[in-house]
Protein backbone atom coordinates (compact mmCIF):
# COMPACT_ATOMS: atom_id res chain seq x y z
CA UNK A 1 0.00 0.00 0.00
CA UNK A 2 1.43 3.39 -0.95
CA UNK A 3 1.57 6.15 1.62
CA UNK A 4 -1.23 8.70 1.71
CA UNK A 5 -0.95 11.60 -0.71
CA UNK A 6 -0.90 14.01 2.24
CA UNK A 7 1.96 12.15 3.85
CA UNK A 8 3.84 11.50 0.63
CA UNK A 9 6.16 14.48 0.97
CA UNK A 10 7.34 13.73 4.47
CA UNK A 11 7.55 9.94 4.28
CA UNK A 12 11.22 9.06 4.06
CA UNK A 13 11.04 5.44 5.17
CA UNK A 14 12.47 2.91 2.74
CA UNK A 15 9.58 1.50 0.66
CA UNK A 16 9.94 -2.03 2.01
CA UNK A 17 10.07 -0.78 5.59
CA UNK A 18 7.09 1.46 4.97
CA UNK A 19 5.08 -1.45 3.58
CA UNK A 20 5.84 -3.45 6.70
CA UNK A 21 5.14 -0.51 8.98
CA UNK A 22 1.72 0.03 7.40
CA UNK A 23 0.93 -3.65 7.90
CA UNK A 24 2.08 -3.44 11.51
CA UNK A 25 -0.22 -0.47 12.00
CA UNK A 26 -3.14 -2.74 11.18
CA UNK A 27 -1.95 -5.15 13.88
CA UNK A 28 -0.01 -7.54 11.65
CA UNK A 29 2.47 -9.23 14.01
CA UNK A 30 4.06 -11.15 11.13
CA UNK A 31 5.08 -7.88 9.46
CA UNK A 32 6.55 -6.69 12.72
CA UNK A 33 8.47 -9.94 13.00
CA UNK A 34 10.05 -9.16 9.61
CA UNK A 35 11.08 -5.71 10.79
CA UNK A 36 12.48 -7.17 13.99
CA UNK A 37 14.47 -9.76 12.04
CA UNK A 38 15.94 -6.99 9.93
CA UNK A 39 17.01 -4.71 12.76
CA UNK A 40 17.35 -6.77 15.94
CA UNK A 41 21.10 -7.31 15.67
CA UNK A 42 21.97 -3.68 15.13
CA UNK A 43 19.62 -2.52 17.86
CA UNK A 44 21.12 -5.12 20.19
CA UNK A 45 24.66 -3.94 19.29
CA UNK A 46 23.80 -0.32 20.08
CA UNK A 47 22.24 -1.27 23.41
CA UNK A 48 25.09 -3.61 24.27
CA UNK A 49 27.54 -0.81 23.53
CA UNK A 50 25.70 1.56 25.86
CA UNK A 51 24.89 -0.83 28.70
CA UNK A 52 27.92 -3.15 28.52
CA UNK A 53 25.89 -5.96 30.00
CA UNK A 54 24.66 -8.79 27.84
CA UNK A 55 21.56 -9.85 29.80
CA UNK A 56 20.46 -6.28 30.40
CA UNK A 57 21.07 -5.46 26.74
CA UNK A 58 18.95 -8.40 25.64
CA UNK A 59 16.15 -7.40 27.97
CA UNK A 60 16.21 -3.77 26.86
CA UNK A 61 16.45 -4.68 23.17
CA UNK A 62 13.34 -6.86 23.46
CA UNK A 63 11.58 -4.13 25.41
CA UNK A 64 12.55 -1.65 22.68
CA UNK A 65 10.89 -3.76 20.01
CA UNK A 66 7.85 -4.35 22.17
CA UNK A 67 7.45 -0.61 22.71
CA UNK A 68 7.96 0.00 19.01
CA UNK A 69 5.18 -2.48 18.29
CA UNK A 70 2.86 -0.76 20.74
CA UNK A 71 3.65 2.71 19.40
CA UNK A 72 3.87 1.89 15.72
CA UNK A 73 0.48 3.46 15.01
CA UNK A 74 2.03 6.79 16.02
CA UNK A 75 4.84 6.41 13.48
CA UNK A 76 4.04 8.59 10.46
CA UNK A 77 7.24 8.15 8.48
CA UNK A 78 8.69 11.56 9.33
CA UNK A 79 12.05 9.87 9.85
CA UNK A 80 13.51 6.58 8.76
CA UNK A 81 12.13 3.59 10.64
CA UNK A 82 15.50 2.63 12.08
CA UNK A 83 16.14 6.20 13.29
CA UNK A 84 12.83 6.03 15.13
CA UNK A 85 13.72 2.59 16.47
CA UNK A 86 17.17 3.69 17.66
CA UNK A 87 15.60 6.67 19.40
CA UNK A 88 13.39 4.31 21.40
CA UNK A 89 16.42 2.10 22.11
CA UNK A 90 18.63 4.94 23.34
CA UNK A 91 15.83 6.35 25.51
CA UNK A 92 15.25 2.89 26.96
CA UNK A 93 18.96 2.60 27.78
CA UNK A 94 19.07 5.99 29.47
CA UNK A 95 15.92 5.21 31.48
CA UNK A 96 17.30 1.83 32.41
CA UNK A 97 20.60 3.27 33.58
CA UNK A 98 18.77 5.88 35.64
CA UNK A 99 16.73 3.13 37.28
CA UNK A 100 19.66 0.86 37.87
CA UNK A 101 22.29 3.36 38.98
CA UNK A 102 24.79 0.56 39.09
CA UNK A 103 27.76 1.15 41.33
CA UNK A 104 31.12 1.00 39.52
CA UNK A 105 31.95 -2.18 41.44
CA UNK A 106 28.89 -3.87 40.01
CA UNK A 107 29.83 -2.82 36.50
CA UNK A 108 33.27 -4.24 37.08
CA UNK A 109 31.68 -7.49 38.26
CA UNK A 110 29.60 -7.67 35.11
CA UNK A 111 32.70 -7.24 32.95
CA UNK A 112 34.64 -9.79 34.96
CA UNK A 113 31.75 -12.21 34.66
CA UNK A 114 31.71 -11.72 30.92
CA UNK A 115 35.45 -12.21 30.67
CA UNK A 116 35.30 -15.25 32.91
CA UNK A 117 32.67 -16.85 30.70
CA UNK A 118 34.81 -16.23 27.66
CA UNK A 119 37.96 -17.55 29.28
CA UNK A 120 36.21 -20.65 30.54
CA UNK A 121 34.56 -21.61 27.29
CA UNK A 122 37.49 -20.52 25.16
CA UNK A 123 35.33 -20.10 22.10
CA UNK A 124 34.40 -16.50 22.50
CA UNK A 125 34.77 -14.59 19.23
CA UNK A 126 36.05 -11.60 21.18
CA UNK A 127 39.31 -13.51 21.58
CA UNK A 128 39.93 -12.73 17.95
CA UNK A 129 40.12 -9.08 18.94
CA UNK A 130 43.47 -9.44 20.62
CA UNK A 131 42.26 -11.29 23.63
CA UNK A 132 40.88 -10.49 27.00
CA UNK A 133 43.05 -7.49 27.66
CA UNK A 134 41.70 -5.48 24.72
CA UNK A 135 38.15 -6.51 25.57
CA UNK A 136 38.57 -5.62 29.19
CA UNK A 137 40.06 -2.24 28.37
CA UNK A 138 37.45 -1.53 25.73
CA UNK A 139 34.59 -2.30 28.12
CA UNK A 140 36.21 -0.34 30.91
CA UNK A 141 36.87 2.59 28.60
CA UNK A 142 33.27 2.53 27.36
CA UNK A 143 32.04 2.45 30.94
CA UNK A 144 33.97 5.59 31.69
CA UNK A 145 31.97 7.47 29.07
CA UNK A 146 28.63 9.07 29.78
CA UNK A 147 25.55 7.47 28.15
CA UNK A 148 25.42 10.35 25.64
CA UNK A 149 29.04 9.81 24.59
CA UNK A 150 28.54 6.06 24.44
CA UNK A 151 25.43 6.52 22.32
CA UNK A 152 27.17 8.66 19.67
CA UNK A 153 30.19 6.42 19.30
CA UNK A 154 28.13 3.24 19.22
CA UNK A 155 25.56 4.59 16.77
CA UNK A 156 28.38 5.69 14.49
CA UNK A 157 30.30 2.41 14.85
CA UNK A 158 27.35 0.09 14.48
CA UNK A 159 25.29 1.66 11.78
CA UNK A 160 27.59 4.26 10.31
CA UNK A 161 24.81 6.77 10.82
CA UNK A 162 25.39 10.31 9.64
CA UNK A 163 25.79 13.07 12.21
CA UNK A 164 22.40 14.38 11.15
CA UNK A 165 20.72 11.04 11.85
CA UNK A 166 22.51 10.71 15.19
CA UNK A 167 21.46 14.23 16.12
CA UNK A 168 17.83 13.34 15.31
CA UNK A 169 18.02 10.24 17.47
CA UNK A 170 19.61 12.00 20.43
CA UNK A 171 17.76 15.28 20.02
CA UNK A 172 20.87 17.44 19.83
CA UNK A 173 22.73 19.45 17.18
CA UNK A 174 25.14 18.00 14.63
CA UNK A 175 27.88 20.09 16.20
CA UNK A 176 27.22 18.42 19.54
CA UNK A 177 27.40 15.01 17.88
CA UNK A 178 30.75 15.92 16.33
CA UNK A 179 32.23 17.18 19.59
CA UNK A 180 30.90 14.20 21.58
CA UNK A 181 32.35 11.81 19.01
CA UNK A 182 35.70 13.58 19.12
CA UNK A 183 35.77 13.42 22.91
CA UNK A 184 34.63 9.78 23.08
CA UNK A 185 37.21 8.64 20.52
CA UNK A 186 39.95 10.52 22.30
CA UNK A 187 39.04 8.87 25.60
CA UNK A 188 38.87 5.39 24.08
CA UNK A 189 42.19 5.95 22.29
CA UNK A 190 43.83 6.96 25.57
CA UNK A 191 42.54 3.83 27.30
CA UNK A 192 43.51 1.53 24.45
CA UNK A 193 46.74 3.33 23.60
CA UNK A 194 48.88 0.19 23.64
CA UNK A 195 46.51 -1.84 21.52
CA UNK A 196 45.73 0.51 18.68
Amino acid sequence: MAPDVKEEQRVIVEPSDWELVRKCQTGDVGAFQELAAKYYQKVFMVILGILNHREDALEIAQETFYRAFRKIREFRGGSTFYTWLYRIAVNQCIDFQRRQRRAPAEVREAIDELLYERGEHGTDPYDALEGKEVMSRLLAALNDLTPDHKAVIVLRAVEGLSYKEISEILGCSEGTVMSRLHYARKKLQEKLAHFL
Partner: protein, 181 residues
Protein backbone atom coordinates in the same frame (compact mmCIF):
# COMPACT_ATOMS: atom_id res chain seq x y z
CA UNK B 1 46.61 27.50 3.31
CA UNK B 2 47.73 24.10 4.57
CA UNK B 3 46.34 22.78 7.86
CA UNK B 4 48.53 22.13 10.86
CA UNK B 5 48.58 18.84 12.78
CA UNK B 6 46.41 20.13 15.62
CA UNK B 7 43.54 21.27 13.43
CA UNK B 8 43.80 18.11 11.31
CA UNK B 9 43.52 15.90 14.40
CA UNK B 10 40.55 17.86 15.61
CA UNK B 11 38.67 17.07 12.40
CA UNK B 12 40.24 13.72 11.52
CA UNK B 13 37.31 11.73 12.92
CA UNK B 14 34.76 13.85 11.07
CA UNK B 15 36.86 13.49 7.92
CA UNK B 16 36.86 9.68 8.23
CA UNK B 17 33.11 9.84 8.78
CA UNK B 18 32.71 11.88 5.58
CA UNK B 19 31.31 14.83 7.49
CA UNK B 20 33.58 17.64 6.30
CA UNK B 21 33.33 19.85 3.22
CA UNK B 22 35.01 18.86 -0.01
CA UNK B 23 37.58 21.64 0.31
CA UNK B 24 38.42 20.68 3.89
CA UNK B 25 38.57 17.03 2.89
CA UNK B 26 41.17 17.78 0.21
CA UNK B 27 43.29 19.73 2.68
CA UNK B 28 43.14 17.00 5.32
CA UNK B 29 43.96 14.30 2.80
CA UNK B 30 46.96 16.25 1.56
CA UNK B 31 48.17 16.77 5.12
CA UNK B 32 47.66 13.16 6.19
CA UNK B 33 49.52 11.84 3.16
CA UNK B 34 52.48 14.08 3.94
CA UNK B 35 52.50 13.76 7.76
CA UNK B 36 53.50 10.37 9.28
CA UNK B 37 52.24 11.35 12.72
CA UNK B 38 48.73 12.24 11.47
CA UNK B 39 48.76 9.13 9.26
CA UNK B 40 49.39 7.05 12.38
CA UNK B 41 46.56 8.88 14.15
CA UNK B 42 44.28 8.06 11.26
CA UNK B 43 45.22 4.38 11.51
CA UNK B 44 44.52 4.39 15.27
CA UNK B 45 41.09 5.91 14.70
CA UNK B 46 40.27 3.38 12.01
CA UNK B 47 41.46 0.56 14.23
CA UNK B 48 39.37 1.83 17.12
CA UNK B 49 36.30 1.95 14.91
CA UNK B 50 37.02 -1.56 13.68
CA UNK B 51 37.61 -3.03 17.16
CA UNK B 52 34.47 -1.44 18.57
CA UNK B 53 32.28 -2.56 15.71
CA UNK B 54 33.76 -6.05 15.67
CA UNK B 55 33.31 -6.44 19.42
CA UNK B 56 29.68 -5.39 19.26
CA UNK B 57 29.01 -7.48 16.17
CA UNK B 58 30.42 -10.55 17.82
CA UNK B 59 28.39 -9.85 20.94
CA UNK B 60 25.22 -9.60 18.87
CA UNK B 61 26.00 -12.65 16.74
CA UNK B 62 25.49 -14.84 19.81
CA UNK B 63 21.84 -13.88 20.00
CA UNK B 64 19.67 -15.90 17.67
CA UNK B 65 16.59 -14.30 16.21
CA UNK B 66 14.36 -17.13 17.42
CA UNK B 67 15.24 -16.56 21.08
CA UNK B 68 15.13 -12.80 20.61
CA UNK B 69 11.71 -12.89 18.95
CA UNK B 70 10.43 -15.25 21.61
CA UNK B 71 11.03 -12.52 24.19
CA UNK B 72 9.16 -9.94 22.11
CA UNK B 73 6.31 -12.32 21.38
CA UNK B 74 5.99 -13.10 25.08
CA UNK B 75 5.71 -9.41 25.84
CA UNK B 76 3.10 -8.91 23.11
CA UNK B 77 1.08 -11.87 24.45
CA UNK B 78 1.36 -10.61 28.02
CA UNK B 79 0.27 -7.18 26.86
CA UNK B 80 -2.73 -8.70 25.16
CA UNK B 81 -3.54 -10.78 28.24
CA UNK B 82 -3.41 -7.64 30.38
CA UNK B 83 -5.63 -5.89 27.86
CA UNK B 84 -8.04 -8.82 27.86
CA UNK B 85 -8.04 -8.99 31.65
CA UNK B 86 -8.94 -5.32 31.81
CA UNK B 87 -11.90 -5.84 29.46
CA UNK B 88 -12.91 -8.99 31.32
CA UNK B 89 -13.02 -6.88 34.45
CA UNK B 90 -14.89 -4.04 32.76
CA UNK B 91 -17.34 -6.09 30.69
CA UNK B 92 -19.63 -7.28 33.54
CA UNK B 93 -20.07 -3.69 34.60
CA UNK B 94 -21.10 -2.45 31.17
CA UNK B 95 -23.04 -5.52 29.98
CA UNK B 96 -26.66 -4.51 29.11
CA UNK B 97 -28.04 -7.45 31.13
CA UNK B 98 -26.30 -6.25 34.28
CA UNK B 99 -27.02 -2.65 33.41
CA UNK B 100 -30.79 -3.15 33.92
CA UNK B 101 -30.66 -2.21 37.59
CA UNK B 102 -28.40 0.72 36.93
CA UNK B 103 -30.84 2.62 34.70
CA UNK B 104 -33.56 3.30 37.33
CA UNK B 105 -30.85 4.04 39.91
CA UNK B 106 -29.29 6.61 37.60
CA UNK B 107 -32.68 8.20 36.89
CA UNK B 108 -33.46 8.44 40.61
CA UNK B 109 -30.04 9.96 41.29
CA UNK B 110 -30.45 12.58 38.56
CA UNK B 111 -33.93 13.52 39.82
CA UNK B 112 -32.67 13.68 43.39
CA UNK B 113 -29.92 16.06 42.37
CA UNK B 114 -32.35 18.28 40.44
CA UNK B 115 -34.84 18.43 43.30
CA UNK B 116 -32.18 18.98 45.92
CA UNK B 117 -32.02 22.61 44.79
CA UNK B 118 -35.54 23.14 46.03
CA UNK B 119 -34.80 21.77 49.46
CA UNK B 120 -31.29 23.15 49.83
CA UNK B 121 -31.58 26.59 48.32
CA UNK B 122 -28.38 28.10 47.00
CA UNK B 123 -26.62 24.93 45.91
CA UNK B 124 -25.90 26.66 42.68
CA UNK B 125 -27.38 24.58 39.91
CA UNK B 126 -31.02 25.68 40.03
CA UNK B 127 -32.52 28.40 37.80
CA UNK B 128 -31.50 31.89 38.78
CA UNK B 129 -33.84 34.87 38.65
CA UNK B 130 -33.56 38.37 40.07
CA UNK B 131 -37.35 38.74 40.12
CA UNK B 132 -37.56 36.35 43.07
CA UNK B 133 -35.42 38.76 45.08
CA UNK B 134 -37.58 41.85 44.50
CA UNK B 135 -39.26 43.20 47.59
CA UNK B 136 -41.55 46.20 47.83
CA UNK B 137 -43.04 48.23 50.62
CA UNK B 138 -46.09 50.44 50.23
CA UNK B 139 -45.70 53.63 52.30
CA UNK B 140 -48.87 55.55 51.54
CA UNK B 141 -47.89 56.96 48.22
CA UNK B 142 -44.10 56.67 48.73
CA UNK B 143 -43.18 53.21 47.63
CA UNK B 144 -39.91 51.43 47.99
CA UNK B 145 -38.75 48.50 45.93
CA UNK B 146 -35.55 46.51 46.42
CA UNK B 147 -33.85 44.22 43.98
CA UNK B 148 -31.10 42.04 45.35
CA UNK B 149 -28.87 40.27 42.89
CA UNK B 150 -26.64 37.76 44.62
CA UNK B 151 -24.20 36.97 41.80
CA UNK B 152 -22.78 40.49 41.47
CA UNK B 153 -23.82 41.41 45.03
CA UNK B 154 -25.77 44.37 43.76
CA UNK B 155 -28.72 45.96 45.47
CA UNK B 156 -30.95 48.37 43.55
CA UNK B 157 -33.35 50.54 45.46
CA UNK B 158 -36.27 52.25 43.77
CA UNK B 159 -38.16 55.06 45.43
CA UNK B 160 -41.30 56.00 43.55
CA UNK B 161 -44.64 57.60 44.07
CA UNK B 162 -47.96 56.01 43.45
CA UNK B 163 -49.42 57.73 40.38
CA UNK B 164 -53.01 57.48 41.66
CA UNK B 165 -52.23 59.43 44.82
CA UNK B 166 -49.68 61.98 43.61
CA UNK B 167 -50.08 64.70 41.02
CA UNK B 168 -47.21 67.18 41.39
CA UNK B 169 -44.50 64.97 42.76
CA UNK B 170 -41.09 64.69 41.03
CA UNK B 171 -40.07 61.84 38.72
CA UNK B 172 -39.06 58.47 40.19
CA UNK B 173 -35.59 58.39 41.69
CA UNK B 174 -33.25 55.43 41.41
CA UNK B 175 -30.17 54.63 43.40
CA UNK B 176 -27.75 51.83 43.02
CA UNK B 177 -25.31 50.67 45.63
CA UNK B 178 -23.26 47.67 46.44
CA UNK B 179 -24.75 45.32 48.96
CA UNK B 180 -21.69 45.61 51.09
CA UNK B 181 -22.46 49.30 51.64
Amino acid sequence: MTMDCESVRRTLGAWLDGEVSEKESREIRAHVEACPSCRAERSRLERLQFVLRAALEEGASKVTFESFWHGIERRISQGRVRHREFWDWLRPVILPRRLAWAIPVTVVCVLAVLFAEQFFFGLGWGPRSNVAAVESIDGHGFNLALLRESETKTTVIWLFEDEDEEEDEPAPEAASTDASL
